[in-house]
């Protein structure tokens, strides 16, 4: 029965796409497509929930009727990620109804035709039980998200960013595929089950190569520093609901792949794997949030914040590997639960923030923080839920983001049991730094965008947001609050999930601790809140903001996003390395200038020191290779002859 439902769910997605693209011109179809898609997603949600909460495992195997291994498998890990995909997609689809409402008919068809199969590709990645299907979904995911990006235009900038995105994704996909193919001589078939059976028995050096390849391959997709380069470029130009999906869900498929391969298939990790993952995670978290702090375009900022959160998830995964390597299954389970729960939480609050950014863009036609301001009274529904998203992303207690950060802190603190040198507790400082910078960053985002006075006409005359935009944001905000107040709902099934991946793991005591503490804290805060509200029952009067006794305070006198982050940027200036140029005309009269121009360009140092040289190297190599292309057919025949000779030699001596 559940096998049938799973297959039905998979087929219903392309069906929705087909309906949209074939009959998208009809008004009724325009109404029907989102409903069809929502229905499919709810079905998926039910299947995933049954699997994640009740541990119902589903297997579908078509290998018998096909010449190659093909099948689906839904265990707790897949169920968890399927739950994340479907759960986030429901509000995104709801939001898309109004977002895509302004598209012309052709664009509308493309959008609703591509969106369901983009969702399908992500679902395929997490439910695939064979390498073939996994890679199919993996590749479709890249291509379909790229096509969705192209819906909103194909100007020069966009094409450049898209090219970088595609190039990076294919480097990653190649590394992932290579890591899978290395199993070929050892595993009888390329199914995850067969690979898992041989994983521990592989030669040690091969295991290391597989681990490193998968770390790089999935790391590109997840956007760990220094492979995060594509992320703010691609996420910022996609249609906003797609950005939300890319940030909240697509990045998580990389986490899924990494967990599946490292914990599920390779198993028995070495300790240094963990330290590698942990180190990269810490660097990603701190640098990601520093870049976010310096960014003033809402969607780019949110994309950099995703980099930070991916870093935190990797910190959890690295800790789990370290603990597992030292033979401490309960602590490994704790760290793995922290990582996976943070993946879920980030999926929730980041989709909320991206959708909020989409609503802001629809209402004001801009995403530049310096042109926004005062949106809360103009878009109250969006504003309140966006505030909850910001607080969750800043990791504040009573919301979901805090619980996973607390679990990460707790696992780091537990690291003292390991060794004489307290490396892991020291890293608490770095994670705390990322946390407080995130707090500052989201104060900036919310305060500059939604509070104060509007900084431009676009913000002053912001249009109302559509009702289902409000609704979709409310749904996610509610989920953030519920998981923050009652984290046990997700933590207990996650602990069962960790038990399937880590041998001998029992439920860590922290799960019960935090699950029972959060409602108490919430009750305490509520009590104090009521008390404080009773203290403050006095009359109030509205007056002009104080402007040093002068009338006429204008919006230009407020702090901007740039000035807000200036003190922090100057403290961390080693990270930003801005290129500044100040031109004063005429140059010989600096105190009486006619014209002053000031430019400040921030390129990340990775672009200059890592990417530029490697791109130059590839181009130079290609130029040298071009000499082989003489255009002379005899020379080409010679090449073929030499190649055959070389192959024969290899076969003779190998």
């Amino acid at each position: 029965m559940s096998e049938l439902l799973l297959v039905l769910f998979l087929w219903s997605l392309p069906l929705a796409a087909l309906v949209a693209s074939v009959a998208g011109g009809h008004r009724l179809v325009r109404r029907l497509t989102p409903v069809l898609l929502l229905g499919a997603l709810l079905l998926g949600l039910a299947i995933a929930g049954n699997c994640f909460f009740n541990g119902k495992i589903v297997h579908v195997d078509w290998s018998g009727s096909l010449p190659f291994a093909l099948g689906l498998a839904l265990d707790r890990l897949s169920g968890f990620f399927l739950l994340l995909i479907c759960g986030v997609s429901v509000p995104v689809v709801l939001f898309s109804i109004s977002y895509a409402g302004h598209y012309c008919s052709a664009k509308w068809r493309w959008y609703w035709g591509l969106l369901p199969i983009f969702l399908l590709s992500m679902v395929l990645v997490v439910v695939a039980s064979t390498v073939f299907l996994f890679m199919l979904g993996w590749e479709l995911m890249t291509l379909l998200s790229a096509s969705l990006i192209l819906i909103e235009g194909d100007d020069e900038d966009r094409r450049r960013s898209l090219f970088i995105y595609l190039a990076m994704m294919h480097v990653g996909a190649a590394a992932v595929l290579a890591s899978f193919l290395l199993f070929v001589p050892h595993a009888p078939t390329l199914t995850f089950d067969a690979m898992g059976a041989t994983g521990v028995g592989l030669p040690a050096h091969l295991r290391i190569v597989i681990f490193l390849l998968s770390f790089v391959g999935f790391g590109v997709k997840a956007g760990v520093v220094p492979l995060h380069f594509w992320l703010p470029k691609a996420h910022a130009i996609a249609p906003t609901p797609v950005s939300a999906l890319m940030s909240a869900v697509m990045l998580k498929t990389a986490i899924y792949g990494f967990v599946r391969l490292t914990f599920g298939i390779l198993a028995a990790p070495q300790t240094w794997w963990g330290y590698l993952v942990l180190g990269v995670g810490i660097a990603t978290a701190v640098l990601g949030i520093l870049y976010a702090l310096g960014e003033h375009t809402l969607k780019r900022l949110l994309a950099y914040s995703s980099v930070e959160n991916i870093g935190l998830i990797y910190v959890g995964l690295g800790l789990a590997l370290i603990f597992q390597g030292h033979g401490l299954p309960v602590l490994a389970a704790l760290a793995l639960i922290a990582a996976l729960f943070h993946a879920l939480n980030h999926g929730l609050f980041k989709s909320l923030l991206f959708l909020g950014a989409g609503a802001v863009q629809q209402s004001t036609n801009t995403l530049n923080l310096e042109e926004l301001g005062g949106l809360l009274p103009r878009l109250p529904g969006i504003g309140i839920s966006f505030l909850i998203g910001c607080a969750a992303a800043a990791g504040l207690p009573l919301l979901n983001g805090f619980v996973s950060e607390w679990l990460i802190f707790k696992s780091l603190l537990k690291g003292t049991v390991l060794e004489p040198i307290p490396v892991l507790p020291l890293l608490i400082g770095a994670v705390a730094l990322a946390g407080t910078l995130a707090c500052a960053c989201y104060v900036k985002v919310y305060g500059i965008t939604f509070l104060g006075r509007p900084r431009s006409d676009a913000a002053t005359y912001a249009k109302d947001a559509a009702e289902n935009m409000d609704l979709s944001l409310f749904i996610i905000a509610l989920a953030c609050i519920l998981l923050g107040l009652h984290p046990g709902a997700a933590l207990h099934p996650l602990s069962a999930l960790a038990g399937t991946l880590i041998p001998n793991a029992t439920t860590p005591p922290e799960i019960a601790d935090i699950s029972s503490a959060m409602p108490l804290v919430a009750a305490g805060v509520l009590l104090a809140l009521i008390l404080a509200l009773r203290l403050r029952t006095r009359t109030s009067r509205r007056v002009d903001t104080w402007a040093c006794g002068r009338p006429g305070l204008t919006a230009r006198m407020q702090y901007t996003a740039t000035s807000f982050s200036k003190p922090l940027r100057s403290v961390f200036k080693a990270v930003y390395k801005p290129e500044r140029a100040l031109d004063i005309e005429p140059a010989d009269q600096p105190y009486f200038p006619v014209n002053i121009t000031y430019r400040s360009i921030r390129t990340t140092s990775f672009e200059k020191t890592l990417y530029r040289p490697s791109v130059d190297l590839v181009v130079a190599a290609a130029r040298q290779l071009r000499r082989l292309h003489t255009g002379n057919i005899q020379v080409y025949l010679l090449y073929i002859f030499l190649m055959i000779l070389a192959l024969l030699l290899v076969l003779r001596f190998a």
Partner: protein
């Protein structure tokens, strides 16, 4: 039941005695400057006065401005529930509440910074931007100093750390404790906006941090802000006392023991307050961009404290 009563009394002491702490500090500072100074009960009168005044609200502001002081007050009071004062237990306790405690105080800063930006003037932005700087640099050493203690005590709960420290010999005090104490003292000065990081009595645009944030507030909201600021100062003082010098806390919770514990607590608090008053009277406020250097000292000390946990006998 008895324990719940004692724990609630602890919470009430932390919340209700906080303005007195401020009064004592300003009295001490006045004495050092050879002035008469206002009564130590003056902060209570100020709160009473402000609570009965009409509130002025900037016309561009929203619900965030209105609710920020209330939420800030509520979470500060909630954070107080985690601290032991009279005996090594607290109303709320959790293995790992050191992190929860700091994050609850972070909520207060988050909403107050937003409230400041909501006023729509330059001062609010200035204040919240500078507060973000100080907080970003002060919070990590705070985490690390608490981590060092947690590693030694093998527990992440504030009340259990106090209980563990009580079992130690005072003269056997470790390097970790000294380093963490100094780091925590620097952080406490920065977090509560005292000299040399910020001056709570200034209203000069160039220097103010916290005062710039709350410039638009008046009446009952201002009272709540002042009160929660006082509670925060008291919390950090109580944190230092319970983590580094809990001796004198009552283990058996007898009435006499509790009274003695209260006396001991008041004495230790008086020492801290005197030190703070002396520092505030003898040191000039730092320039804004020297504050990060000051906080880096706390960073270095806190990192050393964590490293030294490895060589301290456990």
């Amino acid at each position: 039941m008895r324990n719940v009563l004692i724990n609630s009394a602890q919470l009430l002491i932390l919340v209700l005695a906080a303005p007195l702490l401020r009064g004592v500090i300003s009295k001490l500072k006045a004495w050092i400057q050879k002035r008469q100074g206002a009564s130590v009960w003056r902060p209570y009168a100020d709160l009473w006065k402000l609570l009965h005044k009409e509130e002025l609200i900037p016309n561009t502001s929203t619900v965030v401005f209105r609710f920020a002081p209330v939420i800030g007050f509520a979470v500060t009071v909630a954070a107080a529930a985690f601290l032991p004062v009279l005996h090594p237990a607290a109303l709320l306790s959790l293995d790992g509440d050191i992190f929860l405690f700091v994050y609850l105080l972070a909520i207060s800063r988050f909403v107050m910074s937003l409230g400041a930006l909501d006023g729509g003037s330059a001062f609010g932005g200035m204040g919240s931007s500078r507060e973000a700087l100080v907080a970003a640099l002060a919070e990590s050493p705070l985490f690390l100093a608490l981590t060092a203690l947690a590693v030694l005590a093998k527990t992440g709960s504030l009340s259990q750390i106090a209980g563990w420290t009580m079992g130690q010999n005072f003269f056997d005090v470790s390097t970790v404790h000294i380093l963490a104490f100094v780091a925590l003292a620097i952080v406490a000065v920065a977090e509560t906006g005292r000299i040399p990081v910020d001056n709570p009595t200034t209203h000069l645009e160039l220097t103010m941090i916290h005062e710039a944030m709350v410039l638009e507030y008046s009446g009952p909201s201002l009272a709540l802000i002042e009160w929660s600021q006082a509670i925060k100062l008291h919390l950090l003082a109580a944190l230092m006392i319970s983590a580094f010098a809990p001796w004198g806390m009552s283990l058996a919770s007898t009435p006499i023991g509790l009274a003695a514990a209260l006396g001991a607590y008041a004495g230790k608090l008086a020492c801290l307050v005197m030190a703070l008053a002396l520092v505030e009277s003898s040191v000039a406020k730092l320039r804004m961009y020297v504050v990060p250097d000051f906080l880096r000292v706390a960073w270095a000390l806190a990192i050393l404290a964590v490293i030294f946990t490895a060589i301290t006998k456990r």
